[in-house]
Subunit: 226 residues, 2 copies
């Protein structure tokens, strides 16, 4: 079993590395959004796109076991989106995402959001070629999730604590949640957001723009002007 | 890949069948609780046990990637519980549960709750030997989850719509959610519950007791008196 798992991951890593090279060469910032089902990834994305579309070029790859609802919802914001249905599969992989990038042809220097299948376990192990994993945790899920699903929060560079508008109705300890996240990943950055009310969206936008600038600064001059 | 998957599932089904035989022979009703992370499985279980422990003998198998928090929480209700940590694994399997049953030795004619790893995808394919899968959907996750994760809601006999106390603060269509669940599984039974306020707990308790009676009615006279 361990050998099979290593073979699958090694094969995936090959596809992911090719995706990463393609994206980096074109100055495309790819963010892999991971969370439990229903943590609010699509609502966050739709609002982010609506607020940023005057400033940035964006595209979206949507992953779900079934339905094309999320891609349709994103397309209504005016941004190109493609849906991957994984069927029995529990995560996106590098091969699927490579095909989606071929079809989608995201613009040079754009931001490519990849919304993974809602699953706090399996997507942690599958690199898609993204620059960063962003873990979205809904405060309705309880503050203990980072220590119960440590691989995901260890793999993420940013944790968005979403649905903070519901905090007054919940028994959720924000400080403990941050401590747990930092216990499994001392370098994780944390933002508190409500994609419904807009609270904290400015910080998330600022993070996207600064991260994109940092990625573009790493492009060679030849590639920048190409 | 398909062949490997079939081999793994066939092996699991063998362990699950042995568990089912063991449990049925002793009149033990095993319920496999499945959901997204943070849908409230442990809170529901703790309240259920506290309310039913004068009437029924119960035991719990807890599944999580890491931590023994849930088993400790259940033990504080005065009921035996054992924790399985799956590490990188995304679901419980028949083999793990067989070992846990050996250690736990649930009483004859008891109810054995198995709380799976929080994951709406992978546990759908892995039979543990349970009598029924019970899918818990938190209303904070949105009404579309049954059609986005159809395998799980197809595999479940009961869907508990949990956290209904939060409905006034959410944009969640209860009727649409029920329609979606019945679209993927026309025979699914649905209960609306809040494990926090206690709303709907009586219906869930009644379901457990009636299901247990039905299972005991199927025991042969020889086994009943043994």
């Amino acid at each position: 079993m361990v050998q099979i798992e290593q073979d699958i991951l090694a094969k995936n890593n090959g596809y992911a590395a090719a995706n990463r090279r393609y994206l980096e060469d074109r100055g495309i910032l790819a963010l892999n959004l991971v969370s439990s089902p229903g943590a609010g990834k699509t609502t966050l994305l739709a609002r982010t796109i609506t607020e940023l579309k005057g400033e940035l070029s964006m595209a979206v790859i949507e992953g779900d076991q079934e339905t094309a609802n999320d891609a349709e919802r994103i397309r209504r914001t005016g941004v190109p989106a493609i849906q991957i249905n994984t069927g029995k599969g529990c995560h996106l992989d590098g091969h699927m995402v490579g095909h989606a990038i071929d079809s989608l042809q995201p613009a040079d220097r754009s931001v490519l959001f990849i919304e993974n299948v809602g699953n706090l376990v399996c997507p942690a192990a599958f690199d898609l070629g993204e620059a960063h994993k962003v873990a979205i945790l809904s405060v309705t899920e309880g503050e203990d999730k980072p220590i119960k699903y440590p691989d995901m929060f260890h793999a993420a560079d940013l944790m968005i604590m979403n649905k903070v508008d519901l905090l007054p109705h919940l028994d959720f300890d924000v400080g403990a949640c941050k401590d747990y996240a930092r216990r499994v990943n001392p370098r994780i950055k944390i933002l508190e957001v409500s994609a419904t009310t807009g609270e904290g969206m400015a910080g998330w936008q600022a993070w996207i723009k600064a991260t994109r600038e940092a990625a573009l600064a790493g492009l060679s001059d030849a590639k920048r002007s190409a």
